[in-house]
């Protein structure tokens, strides 16, 4: 017996309490650490349970499984909840370095807790309407957090995200209702069984496409990606790291769970387009990253590109593809977060956003630049777990078709080229004797923790590869998750 709903309830309690305790600074910091500690403990207990049983299900409120609000967690889901918990803790630590003179920090804590609750809910729920509710909960709090610094450009980015998110949420809701009209149930498991039996139905194509638009906008899939570079470049760095590392990961997990695992890639014909859309996203993001000069905007476009690669792996449907996907997800969460946090430190220390003016940053801030380099290496497949994820990814692409391997390889090389452009400027000799401002210790602690986790993951590559093999078998055998969701 496990308690999956603690993963959603604890952040919601935290969101409420941080508003109540807004006046008392020490009490709110203590409360935040207690909630995060409780979250870590429940992730560990749930994780042990999932490793013992394969899939853990729970029905909130004592209803039989499959009737009420159901929750289910599988092996890949454990990776996701662990990444969300770890990255939210890092972003709290990073923010506390900046927040010494910030009176609105309780609002920040509350919104981050709401975001975490939405992400946990998206990972756990087994019916599509609650998936919709949690997607909207996390996107609304993300929108407000993007405009946290209250500059004019921040509001512009937040408004752009919000308008697009509203339109996509209407389409998502329409798709959910169309599915309900055909199937007569909102449970993902029942929908999966229906779609597997009734393949070739034009209405299932339409409704699945509408749901894909609803999930594709927060996941920033081409051509629904336009909000991401603006939002990520204007958001505070701690939020950009949380969105790039955790939020995108959860969106892709929801896509994998709903489309690859439950509905099945072969049962609805429109899902065969997924790998090509993913590769188009990857190529487009990599090409656009090459021409950027704002360092966080460049990182935003490389985030789009690596998300596209993940989508392509999710759509191929071979066991090697899913192994690559699992390794890619484990590797890219800390890599993306460390890239955004160290870029935020560079901007904070040098007070420029244009990376061409960051000459000589290596001599001023060697630690931060080293962390940026580690993030780049992990993200593009250098000597780290990223190497194995990229190797499995290329094997999976080439196995499927030569063209896919070509496009995937080309976009990886283009991402590498845009990282090299940045690193080359950072290590060049300083243009003037302009010293860097001092960086708060909390920021360095957050970056150091992420670098340590990348190094740890590198040394754990052998158990992680065998974990990826077990997980890919579980993803391919979608019927087990369906049975757990329906309650057989």
């Amino acid at each position: 017996m496990s308690n999956l709903y603690y993963l959603v309830v604890l952040p919601l309690i935290g969101a409420l309490l941080s508003l109540v305790l807004a006046r008392w600074r020490r009490a709110s910091i203590l409360m935040t650490s207690l909630i995060l500690g409780a979250l870590v403990v429940s992730v560990i207990t749930v994780g042990i349970d999932v490793f013992d049983h394969g899939i853990v299900t729970e029905s909130v409120g004592g209803w039989p499984v499959g009737t009420g609000l159901g929750m289910a967690l599988d092996l890949l889901g454990v990776v996701i909840v662990a990444a969300v918990t770890g990255l939210s803790a890092t972003s709290f630590i990073y923010f506390s370095g900046k927040a010494q003179s910030d009176e609105r920090q309780s609002i920040f804590y509350s919104l981050v807790f709401f975001l975490v609750a939405g992400l946990m809910g998206m990972t756990l729920v087994t019916d599509i309407f609650n998936l919709f509710v949690f997607v909207e909960l996390s996107s609304v709090s993300a929108c407000v957090l993007v405009s946290y610094n209250r500059r004019s450009e921040d509001f512009e980015a937040a408004l752009k995200y919000l308008v697009l998110e509203t339109i996509s949420s209407f389409i998502f809701l329409g798709g959910i209702v169309l599915v309900y009209d055909q199937v007569g149930s909102l449970n993902m498991g029942v929908i999966g069984v229906f779609m597997r039996n009734e393949s070739g139905n034009i209405m299932s194509d339409i409704s699945v496409a509408m749901m894909a638009i609803g999930l594709g906008l927060p996941a920033a899939i081409f051509p629904l990606h336009t909000w991401l570079p603006d939002a990520f470049s204007r958001a505070p760095s701690s939020i950009a790291a949380l969105l790039a590392g955790a939020s995108k990961l959860v969106c892709f997990y929801a896509i994998v769970r709903l489309f690859s695992q439950v509905i099945g890639l072969n049962s609805v014909s429109i899902l065969r387009l997924i790998p090509w859309i993913g590769l188009a996203t990857a190529l487009f993001g990599a090409l656009m990253a090459l021409v950027q000069v704002d360092i966080k905007r460049l990182l935003g476009y490389t985030t789009i590109a690596s998300g596209g690669l993940a989508l392509a792996l999710a759509g191929i449907g071979t066991s090697r593809g899913f192994q690559g996907l699992v390794l890619h997800m484990i590797n890219s969460a800390p890599a993306k977060a460390v890239l955004f946090l160290s870029a935020g430190c560079l901007i904070y220390g040098l007070s420029v956003r244009d990376f061409r003016e960051m000459k000589g940053a290596w001599s001023a801030m060697p630690g931060v630049c080293l962390a940026f380099l580690v993030g780049c290496l992990a993200d593009l497949g250098g000597p780290s777990l990223g190497f194995f994820s990229k190797a499995y990814m290329m094997f999976a692409f080439v196995e499927t078709s030569a063209l896919m391997g070509l496009v995937g390889g080309l976009s990886t090389v283009l991402i590498a080229a845009s990282y090299i452009r940045v690193v080359q400027v950072l290590v060049s000799s300083p243009a003037s004797g302009d010293g860097a401002g001092s960086i708060p210790n909390a920021m360095l602690v957050a970056i150091g923790a992420l670098v340590a986790s990348i190094v740890l993951l590198t040394f754990l590559f052998w158990p992680l590869i065998s974990f990826a093999e077990t997980t890919s078998l579980q993803i391919i055998d979608g019927m087990r998750l369906i049975a757990a969701m329906v309650g057989i």
């Binding site: 509710v133 004019s152 450009e153 752009k160 339109i167 309900y180 909102l186 570079p229």
Partner: protein, 115 residues
């Protein structure tokens, strides 16, 4: 020749949703964008309500079987309406902040973030 009124009503609510989205995308004033999006949200809500209508539905109310529509869709509409209202309010709030910062609410003049 008979026309299925149910199909016509589905298509009309979809048309309302598309009209709202067109209105939101073709105007550059933030208030008009919000108006368009709320028209679009009415279209979606209407669609959800229509799906909930059944000819021969019945439910147990206070011990007796009475004719009824699908109660699940009513719950969905309630939740969806609250979420949509939250979106509209947040959009208007951001619009007010943009007006305070810039002195106008014209999206076509907000072009700092490009490329």
């Amino acid at each position: 020749m008979s026309i299925d009124l149910g199909i016509v009503a589905y298509n009309l609510s979809f048309l309302l949703m598309l009209l709202g989205i067109y209105c939101a995308l073709s105007h550059s004033d933030i208030i008009k964008v919000v108006c368009g999006l709320s028209i679009s949200s009415y279209g979606v809500t209407l669609f959800v309500i229509q799906i909930g209508y059944t000819q021969s539905g019945s439910t147990l109310a206070s011990g007796a079987v009475v004719p009824s529509v699908d109660p699940l869709m009513e719950a969905l509409v309630l939740t969806a309406v609250v979420i949509e209202t939250g979106f509209m309010m947040l959009m208007l709030a951001i619009g007010i902040r943009i007006f305070q910062e810039e002195g106008h609410m014209d999206l076509s003049l907000l072009r700092r973030l490009r490329g």
